[in-house]
């Protein structure tokens, strides 16, 4: 996915380059870039890429949408594009039409629950919801004894305690207290909160992989410009080997994320193999965000630690994205349990099935 070879990604990359250039965005203290960017993305139908035409979206394939998220990661895009895409995708699972405007999904953590009472009202608390403050609607996965439901909720009906993640993007706590949804329908058979978390996790994995590609790119470029001890720092073997490791982490993240995206795009159900792919992507990409980001900073030295430099737009966001839709620790425990439960002699057949 490193080269844009489809029209969705080409369109998105052009918009990002024109309206979300990381240096321009970083220099703009008033965030005046946000509205034109969102408008351009909306006009191109990208936030509702995963929503079929008859439900108000642009009906792109899962694969194209995943490639779009990877591109968004390469630009460290800080508007609720991924969140609105996931919300539209979730609503479409229950054939609920998507409204216009920014959306986000809740819950955003595997441990949180939104439930429904006898009157049909929704209650519960969801922490770490990305861009809740910017959202006009929430797409909600509702936990129920008889299976999950999917609901569309007017964001103004929820109580929002705002917060920021380590990447300085909104990560808010949303409390629903007997809120009547705009629409609610049963989720398809077999679709539950775990399904939604896996999907969200793969979206974040692709964004992290994209951010790492850019971190590699700008780190290599910087090392070829910066002179120390009378030569370019790219000529020092210690620096070369650090960058080679960064390339490895970037490659691992990209491979894990694109493989998981491909698995979901072609899956008939969320079976153990898809679980392995999606959980692994989140775990490995989170590890790469830590290791790779540290190298990118090391190569840049003090300048990369400044607010003026764009590096933190990638490095901190990649770290923040680790937390959404289940951290790598969460998925590692769940994947470990799954593997242990299947038994030692079923581990290799599972790995080799992919």
């Amino acid at each position: 996915m490193a080269e844009s070879d489809n029209i969705v990604v080409e369109t998105a990359e052009k918009i990002f380059a024109d309206l979300a250039d990381p240096q321009t965005v970083n220099n703009d203290k008033k965030d005046s870039w946000q509205a034109p960017l969102w408008q351009a993305l909306s006009e191109a139908g990208l936030p509702l890429a995963w929503v079929p035409d008859d439900l108000g979206g642009s009906g792109a394939s899962l694969a194209d949408g995943f490639a779009l998220l990877n591109a968004a990661g390469r630009f460290a895009v800080a508007v609720p594009l991924a969140e609105t895409m996931l919300a539209g995708w979730l609503l479409a699972q229950a054939k609920i039409a998507s409204p216009e405007g920014e959306m986000t999904v809740l819950p955003a953590s595997p441990k949180d629950r939104i439930t429904r009472d006898a009157d049909g009202a929704l209650s519960g608390r969801a922490r770490g919801v990305p861009f809740a403050k910017a959202a006009r609607h929430f797409a909600v996965l509702v936990h129920g004894k008889d299976g999950a439901s999917i609901a569309l909720v007017d964001a103004s009906k929820g109580r929002i305690e705002t917060g920021l993640n380590v990447g300085y993007d909104h990560s808010d706590t949303v409390t629903l207290d007997k809120v009547q949804p705009v629409a609610i329908k049963p989720a398809p058979s077999g679709f539950d909160q775990t399904t939604m978390m896996l999907m969200g996790g793969v979206a974040r994995s692709l964004q992290i992989a994209g951010a790492l590609e850019s971190m590699l790119d700008i780190s290599v470029r910087y090392s070829n410009e910066r002179v120390a001890f009378e030569k370019k720092i790219s000529k020092f073997q210690a620096v070369q080997h650090n960058l080679a490791r960064l390339a490895g982490e970037s490659a691992a993240a990209l491979a894990a994320a694109t493989s998981a995206a491909d698995a979901i795009a072609n899956a008939k159900s969320f079976d153990d193999a898809v679980y392995l792919e999606a959980a692994s992507a989140k775990i490995r990409c989170a590890e790469a965000a830590e290791k790779g980001g540290a190298i990118a900073h090391q190569v840049h030295g003090a300048i990369g630690f400044t607010l003026e430099h764009i590096l933190h737009r990638y490095s901190l966001r990649a770290l923040a994205w680790r937390d959404d839709f289940g951290s790598e620790s969460h998925w590692a425990v769940e994947l470990g349990k799954l593997v242990a439960n299947r038994g030692a002699d079923e581990l290799w057949p599972l790995v080799a099935s992919r």
């Binding site: 073997q237 070369q240 080997h241 080679a244 490659a251 590890e287 590692a332 769940e334 994947l335 080799a352």
Partner: protein, 386 residues
């Protein structure tokens, strides 16, 4: 983007899965017949000539080679499946592995036709074993410092000098080696080395075994004294071995053997913790499985690029760098996680015996077939830093 590294999500085609079933059934039969014990990677004698012939009879050696040389003209992805199943089962592949992976493809590319017709079918039948003669006492990673001389004489060359760390030289029927035919030039220090096919087990070649820290005798010192190699055993261009070496590296560096060498300890750990692991064990296993899955996906992706006729040298180097560092750390991580395994775990002894061996094996994994430092140099060159 500077580095357009691509690892497309290649899937093994359906016919690979049928093949995988055949390989698993074959290996299960061999295990049942007592050919090898999959739980014992540290067995004394891994040279299993009869097993090698039976693998050949299955058509699983030289699988991708032309039929006229005994090959099957099957894909790299099919070969990949055979390789990984053999490795995971701890099958005794030493006798044929090097010939199948590396030596055969070199011969196909550079050997005269009559030699190909003679040797390649015998590799495919699992009859002969190859060694690779690269390192010397004073040239390891720095391949182009090799000094063993090949001096022109009537109808061929006389070889004098010493190769070292040569795996399987004590059982090998042939070696593909580089020898010095000219001095390096001022402009090109890589000039002057030539690749040769050497018939082993002849006067003029002395093979001295070298003990390894695992307790095994797998590699050797090979001393050549006025050993004659005929002209038709020159492989490729005289003085031009440096042009031939690089394109083979992608095959050598990206296969499943580059991250599965110590895999058995992970299987045994999962067995030891049982179906209901505590949180610590579950998290540890989950991370290791995620890392393993990712490397395998990268490795399969490179196999797909090879199948498509590309030369993914940088991608292959990344796979070997990450893969060998992982398989080196794996026994230590498993040891950490096994620290609190119940005393009553039925496979405790097996796990401890395996860890003992894997921990001793670990140091070589980031040295053999291209050190981590060399690999990172290649990756850095690919990034435009050198």
């Amino acid at each position: 983007m500077t580095a357009a590294l691509r690892f497309d999500p290649i899937r093994l085609p359906e016919k690979c899965e049928q093949l995988r079933k055949e390989v698993r059934a074959f290996l299960a039969e061999e295990i049942a017949a007592g050919t090898f014990d999959p739980h014992k990677p540290n067995r004394e004698d891994t040279d299993a000539p009869e097993f090698s012939r039976r693998v050949g009879a299955k058509g699983w050696l030289g699988m991708t080679w032309p039929k006229k040389y005994g090959g099957q003209e099957r894909s790299f992805l099919e070969r990949y499946v055979v390789t990984e199943e053999m490795r995971v089962a701890n099958a005794p592949t030493r006798r044929f592995f090097v010939a199948d992976r590396q030596s055969g493809p070199v011969l196909i590319k550079y050997a005269p036709e009559h030699i190909k017709m003679d040797i390649l079918p015998r590799i495919c039948r699992g009859e002969i074993c190859f060694a690779i003669g690269m390192s010397e006492p004073n040239s390891g990673s720095d391949l182009f410092a090799a000094k063993t001389r090949a001096t022109k004489t009537d109808g061929g060359y006389l070889i004098n000098g010493t190769k070292i760390w040569t795996s399987s030289a004590h059982i090998a029927d042939y070696m593909i080696a580089i020898f010095r035919t000219s001095q390096p030039t001022k402009e090109n220090r890589r000039h002057g080395l030539t690749q040769f096919l050497v018939k082993m087990k002849q006067p003029g070649i002395q093979v001295n075994p070298i003990g390894q820290i695992t307790g095994q005798y797998e590699f050797n010192e090979v001393v050549f004294t006025d050993f004659f190699v005929p002209d038709d055993h020159v492989l490729g261009e005289v003085d031009g071995a440096w042009k031939q070496a690089t394109s083979e590296l992608a095959y050598e560096r990206s296969g499943p053997e580059r991250f599965l060498e110590t895999y058995y300890v992970l299987t045994e750990l999962v067995r030891a913790v049982g179906p209901n692991p505590d949180t610590r064990s579950a998290e540890g296993i989950g991370r290791l499985v995620a890392q393993l899955h990712t490397m395998r996906r990268m490795s399969v992706s490179v196999a797909g690029m090879l199948q498509a006729g590309k030369e993914p040298v940088v991608e292959a180097s990344i796979v070997k760098d990450i893969g060998t560092v992982w398989e080196q750390q794996l026994p230590h991580r498993v040891r950490d996680l096994a620290a609190f395994v119940e005393e009553t775990a039925t496979n405790r002894e097996t796990l401890e015996r395996q860890l003992d061996f894997a921990i001793k094996t670990a140091p070589k994994l980031t040295i053999q077939g291209g050190t981590t430092e060399v690999l990172r140099g290649i990756i850095a060159r690919g990034l435009g830093l050198r």
